[in-house]
Amino acid sequence: MNKLILGRYFPGNSFLHRIDPRAKLLAALYFIGLLFFVDYFVGFIWMICFTLLVTKISGVSLSIYLKGIKPLIWLILMSVFFRVIFTVGGTIYFSKGPFAISSYGLLLGFFSFNRFILIIIISTALTLTTKPIDLTDAIDALLKPLRLLGISTAEFSLMLSISLRFIPNLLDETQKVLDAQRARGVVFGEGNLLEQMKKIVPLIIPLFSSSLKRAEEMADVLEVRGYQPSKKRSSFRQLSWRFHDTASLLIMGVLTIGVIILNQFPIIEQWLL
């Protein structure tokens, strides 16, 4: 539980921390989209270099990012594995029935491996350098166009910010219940799968019960104070868009141009296939 890096905020004052969350969110989403338009090996080198630069700027050591990848690594390796054995092309090294290991398959496997890793690193960089509450504000701002269609985005972003706000409380509470049940003789992380699943019950039920209780109290408090999310309201935290925010979006443009140019040069591919 303490090992989960994705979604955690590291306080700091790097350039990345100071960029407007809206710009950061847009840029991160754009980057992830852009990854799917990279066709060749050199393009990936270009994207990797950019990602490494971002991690450097964030002021958080690379090892933290790698820790963020760790819990997902088996999932990634498995999907890469399937990509490799189901893709045929170029030189075939080994084949059996519908499965084959070919140079083209290996290359595509490498590409999707890279995409996964880069997506994780970039989204980790986003959450590491942006307060959850700022992120919700950004999501709220980006959803604003939907209001024209009559969809109430305020409720959605309130929901989001409340749930983000209570993650630390929930972690705290989990630890307490964990300790309390340990004191009553539960040894967590022992026994076979079924036994371990059974041990989760005394952990989950108190958490459910207290979360429901809190949600109800919260709803009461909101009502008592006359809160209505559908009304137009001002915001306590004001986001201000500055020059370096525009600049950081322009960097995305530069990145795109780089990808377009590098997509003309299948250098490694020509040599391999």
Binding site: N2, A180, A183, R184, G185, E190, P202, L203
Partner: protein, 285 residues
């Protein structure tokens, strides 16, 4: 059982945040069958000290002797679990740990985990329910359908059911009304006197300390400031002022009477009866 701290230090970890030396080089010996009140400001390390005794928190250095068991940095899971079967811990707001479908199942949870036989489980469930003063008709009810005070008692019964030799409690009276709190403390005192259970209670109420505890342990920033008998502790007015501690109500009254009349009482009175006795003795009543 005796508890002995030998140069114990411990860190507190919550998520990525690590508080260093929340317990800082503590050496301490707590005699069997004593009733110790643990006091100190928020963050003094009171809860951590209790957790150390129960093996929920492992020391970074030093060792804790609980009966025949030794807890240190490398204590294995089996030892920890054995210690936990001898040490009952009641956390703050223990009603938050209730989970089972019936009160009976919830109380039986601890004994079952510590491998009590089916008969022993039944026996201890009934006994501890009686101990906490709840009716047997509640056994088949869902713990979530009970009132807050009743839930607190069920949770307490769940800990007592494991028949601990040492009982550590973190503010057992918090959030209860005056009467409920008094009942809980009276119950703990009874366990201490009749079953010779060693008790450590974290509390902020000096009245509880004066009335129930025979020893006081004052912590500050992870260090033991003092550990002494309750009467001696409250007798030294200069020290109390220096530590910025409030007086129990009876003692506060005694000091005021002493000030107004100019008579110094022979003894520090901790309970109302003691105060009345002294008033009579000094012919003020």
């Amino acid at each position: 059982m005796q508890i002995k701290f030998d140069q114990v230090s411990a860190d507190y970890q919550l998520g990525p945040i690590r508080a260093k030396n929340i317990i800082d080089d503590v050496s301490l010996q707590i005699a069997p069958a004593t009733f110790t009140a643990v006091i100190g400001q928020t963050g003094a390390g009171k809860t951590s000290l209790l957790k150390l005794i129960n093996g929920i928190l492992r020391p970074t250095s030093g060792s804790i002797q609980v009966g025949e068991f030794t807890l240190d940095h490398s204590a294995n899971k089996a030892t920890l679990n054995q210690v936990r079967s001898r040490v009952g811990m009641v956390f703050q707001f223990p009603e938050n740990q209730l989970f089972a479908e019936t009160v009976e199942a919830d109380i039986a949870f601890g004994p079952k985990n510590f491998n009590f036989s089916a008969e022993e489980v039944d026996q201890s469930v009934y006994r501890s329910l009686e101990r906490v003063g709840l009716d047997q008709s509640l056994l088949k009810r869902s713990p979530f359908s009970l009132s807050g005070g009743q839930q607190r008692r069920v949770a307490l019964a769940g800990v007592l059911a494991t028949k601990p030799d040492i009982l550590v409690l973190d503010e057992p009276g918090a959030g209860l009304d005056a009467r409920g709190k008094q009942e809980i403390f009276a119950l703990i005192k009874k366990l201490n006197q009749q079953d010779r259970v060693t008790v450590l209670v974290v509390t902020h109420d000096m009245n509880d300390v004066a009335i129930y505890a025979d020893h006081v342990l004052l912590l500050d920033q992870g260090k033991v400031i003092t550990y002494q008998e309750t009467r001696a502790f409250f007798s030294d007015q200069d020290q109390l002022t220096e530590w910025n501690l409030e007086l129990p109500d009876t003692l506060h009254l005694q000091r005021q009477i002493e000030q107004r009349t100019g008579i110094n009482f022979k003894q520090t009175s901790l309970t109302r009866t003691e105060l009345i006795d002294q008033l009579i003795e000094e012919k003020l009543l």
